[in-house]
Amino acid sequence: MSDPVAQLVFLIVKAVAMPLIIITMVAFAIYFERKFAGFFQARVGPTYLGPWGSLQSFGDVLKLISKEDVIPLRSDKSVFKLAPYIAFVPAFLVMAVLPFGPVGGEPNLFGHRFDYVIANFDAGVVLFLAMGAIAVYGVVLAGWSSNSNYSLLGGLRAGAQMISYELAMGFSAAGVMVMAGSMSLVEIVDGQKGAFWEWYWIPQIVGAIIFFIASIAELNRTPFDMAEAEQELVAGYLTEYSGMRWGMFYLAEYVNMIVVSGIISTLYFGGWRAPFESWNVIPGPIWLFLKICVLIFIYMWIRWTIFRYRYNQLMSVGWKVLLPLSLANLAVTAVVVSVVG
């Protein structure tokens, strides 16, 4: 088998396996979210379907798929139908740049080189931020096209919130770019050789915290879920959606959560590297998976512990605290890097 053909086969295997693994993770993330919600509130959570209720998400998907797809009569129908796709698809392009193991080097599989990344793209971080910006369209268009007051308010709130926090996110990611001298996620992981105290989370601790907080706002999760605040806006931009179109927004939220956790692990926590050099005998994908699981647990922990902020608090934290702080972090990083080299 010639090398281009082998690479094409590897590519197809990776491109099919990765979305399948992530969708399976989504199913279990939803199950664990409900289970944790139960435990946090001294309930038991789902218990009926499968052992300890672990097949609950699959049952939910079956239910959603068999529900009627109601399209409001006064809505902007083509935009209304398009919006779930705009929310769902961008996350798949971010998966392509996420490295889950070593890239390059010697042939390691049947005499061919197997790269543990789908696309070794030079500007992976920028692609991630760009896809985050496209996901805003999904939410805003969903809210606007429904032609319902709750949807419109939810969509506008979500749009303003996501673009505000995207700035802080972008500037804190620039700190990592300065340290690694690259925008490629593969090279950013290469810059974090060694044990866990050599990863970027120690020098970039401010950036890492800002990035994490901003990612909660980007994902529209509690405590920043003003966009779908159910006590005031019914379900925000999702009010008019039903059946599988609603399910796609729901899936997209969790796919995005897993992808963003992967990006945070890669930028600040060494990506697929083991916390100690000698532990690298366990392959990279497993370490990345564990890091993603820990981050998802923290997201859920925050969601069920901290309650929702007010909208003006959210906007002032984003613009008056996180944005200047991330710029200061970038400036300090740049000065230190150019002095120390």
């Binding site: 090398d3 281009p4 590519l11 491109a15 979305p19 959603l64 798929i65 068999s66 529900k67 009627e68 797809d69 109601v70 399209i71 409001p72 009569l73 809505s75 779930p84 796709y85 769902f88 698809v89 798949f92 392009l93 392509a96 789908i118 696309a119 793209f121 920028v126 429904s146 032609n147 319902s148 007051n149 709750y150 949807s151 419109l152 506008l156 749009g159 303003a160 673009i163 505000s164 995207e166 700035l167 500037f171 620039a174 700190g175 300065v178 001298g181 925008m183 008019e240 059946g243 599988m244 399910g247 796609m248 002032s316 613009w319 008056k320 710029l327 970038l330 400036a331 740049a334 890097v337």
Partner: protein, 122 residues
């Protein structure tokens, strides 16, 4: 796998196709399985049971617009910062000082917007 640029197009193309195909499959399967019944009151926008009074295509708070304009400004700044951040080591101190001047000019606008109360939501 021939040339880097074409490789990337193939790789992103495949991922995009898989994502879109998955989404379309969900909707298509749901169309096959789901019940369909048309009812004029079902198509009304939800308003807690009240008959909706007016259309939502109405003016809304200008604050959202101001935030969006500021976002465009600062995101453009970020776009200029990224290439600078990547090549800071090879560019050295002059580039560092130039970027500080650039950020300082934008900060003037930021302080102005702050004093004008763009970030105050009531």
């Amino acid at each position: 796998m021939v040339e880097p640029t074409i490789d990337l197009l193939i790789q992103f193309g495949i991922m995009f196709a898989i994502g879109a195909a998955m989404a379309m499959a969900f909707v298509a399967i749901s169309h096959l399985l789901s019940p369909k019944s048309v009812n004029p009151s079902k198509g009304e926008p939800y308003e807690c049971g009240v008959v909706p009074k007016s259309d939502t295509r109405a003016p809304f708070n200008v604050h959202y617009y101001l935030v969006a304009v500021l976002f465009v400004l600062f995101d453009l700044e970020a776009v200029f910062i990224y290439p600078w951040a990547v090549s800071l080591r090879s560019l050295g101190t002059p580039a560092l000082i130039e970027m500080f001047v650039f950020i300082a000019i934008l900060l003037v606008g930021y302080v102005y917007a702050w004093k004008k109360g763009v970030f105050e939501w009531e």
